[in-house]
């Protein structure tokens, strides 16, 4: 500590130690905040269509287009150390061979930003069921933080929600599959600490997810020539790399 340089090095060195210790304590502190997540998922409509993975592909694949209702209460996942929660809805169906594990594919997802996180264009903005559909296009450009959120973070009430992704199987065949379920999952991303995924079992004062799985359903046969609505929803992240 005899000269300016040595003192600066000493202070900075001890600062890194303190910063690491505080971060470690913050990461551990989340175990004392109780979690009681619950959700209900209902199938609304499912259709299977034939299509190609991209425009120049000769391969035809079968795509499932699943509409759903989703009600969640994940507000207890937002503690003081939560940066954002990535919520996703998986379709799970048995593989063609019994020896293989079931296939899982995400049909819808959202990034729920915490109140402590600065505004970001990829954060999910809950659709307002009262606002007419036509005006949502215009307001989406100007729906910056000025708009008060409809529900507290983690609460979702989606009716007849279109999927973000159409799903297909590795075999390319998806019609007439049975025992399909929709399951809610999430990933809590903290400011400091460990990523935590959805959990069914209780762990301390963190209760497991209540509900969050739909009833079993069957993927229908491919519709004939009749036109079906297979439009998908776009999230904010589709703006990436494009001017606002």
């Amino acid at each position: 500590m005899h000269s300016t340089l040595v003192r600066a090095q000493n202070v900075f060195g001890f600062f890194t130690t303190v910063a690491f210790c505080v971060a470690a304590v913050i990461a551990l502190s989340v175990v004392v905040s109780p979690q009681t997540p619950s959700a209900s998922v209902k199938l609304r409509n499912v259709q299977v269509v034939r299509g190609r993975p991209h425009y120049y592909s000769y391969k035809k694949e079968e795509y499932a287009h699943i509409k759903f209702d989703l009600d969640t209460d994940l507000t207890s996942l937002f503690n003081w150390n939560t940066k954002q929660v990535f919520v996703y809805l998986k379709a799970i169906y048995p593989s063609l061979k019994a020896s293989e594990p079931p296939s899982e594919a995400i049909i819808w997802d959202a990034i729920l930003g915490s109140p402590s996180a600065p505004w970001h264009q990829n954060h999910y903005i809950h659709p307002n069921p009262k606002s007419p559909k036509s005006s949502s296009k215009k307001s989406s450009k100007s729906s910056k933080p000025s708009a008060e959120p409809l529900y507290p973070p983690g609460e979702l009430h989606l009716q007849n929600q279109r999927p973000k992704y159409q799903i297909t199987d590795i075999s390319g065949k998806l019609q007439n599959r049975t025992d399909v379920v929709l399951e809610l999952g999430w990933n809590v991303q903290p400011w400091v600490g460990a990523l935590v995924w959805a959990n069914k079992a209780d762990w301390g004062i963190w209760e497991g997810l209540k509900g969050g799985v739909s009833e079993r359903f069957r993927l229908p046969e491919i519709k004939g020539a009749r036109k079906v609505d297979v439009s998908t929803e776009k999230g904010g992240e589709s703006n990436r790399g494009k001017p606002a």
Partner: protein, 102 residues
């Protein structure tokens, strides 16, 4: 003249403090940074606001730098009183061929 100026510049940049000041600087570093870290977590957790934790920690660290790094006068209150320069052979009277040496 230039040497004197350079010596002054070097003294300011080096910022040397005495031994008691060094012990004091060490103590202040530990106490201030430790307190800043503790307060940052405690107050942030009470307010459930992680930004508060961040800012208390950073402000406390900057404050510690300001207090410890410059050679403040209170680090130089107990300067060492060195013995006067002493040459082992200065007391001797050496005479070589009628000329004084040493």
């Amino acid at each position: 003249m230039a040497d004197q100026l350079l010596d002054q510049v070097r003294d300011v940049l080096e910022g040397q403090i005495d031994f008691d000041g060094q012990r004091l600087a060490e103590l202040i570093t530990t106490v201030l940074l430790g307190a800043a870290g503790f307060l940052a977590f405690f107050l942030g957790f009470m307010a459930q606001d992680i930004r508060l934790t961040l800012w208390i920690g950073l402000v406390g660290t900057v404050f510690t730098f300001v207090v410890v790094v410059p050679p403040w006068p209170f680090f130089n209150k107990n300067p060492i009183t060195w013995l006067p320069p002493h040459n082992a052979i200065s007391g001797l009277d050496i005479n070589i061929d009628g000329k004084k040496a040493g």
